[in-house]
């Protein structure tokens, strides 16, 4: 069986655990005890409850070919047509088999015309050279029966068809090859192509490219975007949900193929990433690793992920993002993640508006960027913790199983902060109003609990296990609440 069942609840804290070098030898144990750690979150959401639940399987090339062939064969037998035509109809009709069958049975000619696979009589225009016996493309003369064409009636010599196919395949075009006639959109089905194209290398190349085209056009299939990974993801529903490739371990959004981005949707994250790339110059100056303590002004370097900072000199607790007193964070007055727009902006000059727009963007970008950095730093923290645990285990201070909860906590922290990072593009593009207020409220709640969890994970060895597990539970609940309300399902 090459199909790996990936039906999995993504809310498992351990599911995101990263392999670090230190962890490798413990991996077997980690996997062995994996199931036993389930009781950590007692009220783990059920399938239907979990806003991130997603069913998919991992297919090898042959599996995917078989799957496509089955769909083609089903259409063939249902509508009594050639596999070549069925494949074309499915590709053009985005593999909506049922819909195609229905439309075909209602009005066969209409469907074939709309799919550009056959030409209605009235649209047939005469070939370029008309009555003369020459081929309209090469102008060479051949006996009439040498000419070939599709239902549109545009006839050309086999040599020109061959040249046309070669040129199109070289351009990477396969399912979209059209007839050579002027303004003719009739698509070339593969049996016609194979009847002309004899070069075995090119036939091979066509078949490979064609397969890729078919997968790309299939809403429920996607090539794994991981480097050098050739598996194909088969989703039950074509949704913008998280996929983890069991072969190369990359994670990505099923619908758009880039990094998973909940709660932001595919179009918005694309817009955001383009904006960040375009404005990278402007945003560069904020990438500071050091800031001054707001109380005693000593220079502080950020070396861990948590944004709840404590000045090592004066012990003042403050927020790395806004440099405000940490005490005011996490309360209902928590304003750190909320951008306060100038209410009078519409009446301001163009210059003030432009400055305000930049300020707004930088506010969101800074937080987006900061969480990305925190994720990196927390990754390092996890590795440090892991090696410290190994030392403890060696010194018989508990067993590896005893410390498993810490690994889980770090993995959960990563997952929560990741979602938190992706709340910022979402908020940036949101329209003002009640829904944005609710979003910002939940974002602030999540933010506060993520930082609390980070604080406790960094001080894991002195934090009570029950306290840490409680904090994990709260943070994940905040994350789930936000996704339930805002992740489009």
């Amino acid at each position: 069986m090459s199909q790996t069942d990936m039906k999995r609840q993504l809310s498992d804290p351990a599911s995101d655990a990263t392999d670090s070098e230190d962890m490798e030898e413990d991996d077997e144990y980690a996997n062995y005890y994996y199931d036993n750690t389930d009781d950590l979150d007692i009220d783990k959401p059920k399938k239907t409850d979990d806003p991130e639940y997603f069913e998919y399987t991992i297919l090898q090339t042959e599996d995917a070919e078989r799957l496509l062939n089955e769909e083609v064969e089903r259409l063939c037998s249902e509508l009594k047509m050639s596999p070549s035509l069925a494949k074309m109809l499915l590709h053009v009709g985005q593999w909506q088999g049922e819909d195609i069958i229905e439309r075909y049975q209602q009005d066969q000619r209409k469907l074939l015309t709309e799919s550009n696979v056959s030409c209605p009589k009235e649209m047939k225009e005469d070939s370029l050279v008309g009555s003369s016996p020459g081929c309209p493309v090469c102008a060479e003369c051949y006996p009439r029966d040498k000419f070939m064409g599709l239902t549109c009636g545009h006839l050309f010599c086999p040599h020109c068809w061959d040249m046309h196919f070669r040129f199109q395949i070289e351009q990477g075009i396969t399912m979209g090859i059209e007839c050579m006639g002027q303004k003719c959109k009739i698509l070339v089905p593969e049996d016609f192509l194979y009847s002309v194209l004899k070069d075995s290398k090119l036939r091979d190349r066509f078949s490979k490219l064609c397969f890729m085209d078919l997968i790309k056009g299939h809403p429920k299939l996607r090539f794994c975007p991981g480097p050098n990974c050739s598996v194909i993801i088969h989703a039950k529903e074509p949704r913008a949900k998280k996929v983890e490739c069991s072969v190369c371990k990359s994670t990505f959004c099923f619908r758009c193929g880039i990094e998973y981005h909940a709660p932001t949707d595919c179009d918005v994250i694309k817009k955001w990433l383009t904006k960040c790339a375009d404005d990278s110059e402007t945003a560069n100056y904020i990438s500071a690793h050091t800031k001054d303590c707001p109380s005693c002004h000593v220079c502080i370097e950020k070396s861990a992920g948590c944004n709840h900072m404590q000045c090592s000199k004066c012990k003042f607790d403050f927020c790395w993002m806004c440099l405000g007193d940490w005490k005011s964070h996490g309360s209902e007055y928590y304003e750190c993640s909320r951008y306060k727009e100038n209410p009078n902006i519409a009446n301001e000059s163009v210059l003030v508006q432009a400055r305000e727009a930049l300020k707004k963007y930088l506010f969101y970008f800074e937080r987006w960027e900061n969480h990305a950095k925190s994720l990196q730093l927390e990754e390092q923290t996890l590795q440090k913790i892991t090696s410290r645990i190994n030392v403890k285990v060696m010194e018989n201070e508990g067993t590896w199983i005893d410390w498993q909860y810490l690994q889980n906590a770090a993995a959960l922290l990563k997952k929560c902060r990741y979602t938190l990072q992706y709340t910022y593009p979402y908020a940036y593009y949101m329209d003002k109003g009640g829904r944005k207020q609710l979003f910002e409220y939940q974002q602030a709640q999540l933010e506060a609990e993520v930082e609390n969890l980070s604080w406790k994970v960094e001080r894991a060895e002195i934090t009570h296990r029950g306290d840490l597990e409680n904090q994990m539970d709260i943070a994940e609940k905040r994350r789930q609440t936000l996704l339930k309300d805002f992740l489009e399902v």
Partner: protein, 155 residues
Amino acid sequence: MAGLPRRIIKETQRLQADPVPGISAIPDEANARHFKVEVAGPVKSPYEGGTFHLELFLPEEYPMSAPKVRFMTRIYHPNIDKLGRICLDILKDKWSPALQIRTVLLSIQALLSAPNPDDPLDTNVAEAWKKDEESAIEEARQFTRQHAMGNKPQQ
């Protein structure tokens, strides 16, 4: 140079025996795939009275791929940029091997009569065209007087 395909020979003959009104296309003596083209600005367009020089080249893959065409004379037009490149669908994805040099030149002539600022190549010109068509047309006239009247083919 390798033997010229029959298709190109026939097209060239027909272009000369039965030229498109307002357009001349003459193959280069040294390279029969290279044409010197002159298009007269269409009447009632801001290009009226001007003579526009273009170069047209038939690539090796022609007619499987489209001819390459470029304006040599400066022109103020939303679908033609400073380098003389032309935004025309049949020169790109709408090319068909059954189209000819003649059809391409006719389409270019039509583009001069009916600029399409909604599918711009030169966004500045297109913006100006959409904002204030009258001034844009005047600007195009001015360009025509300055660059396309009494001009000799450029090398």
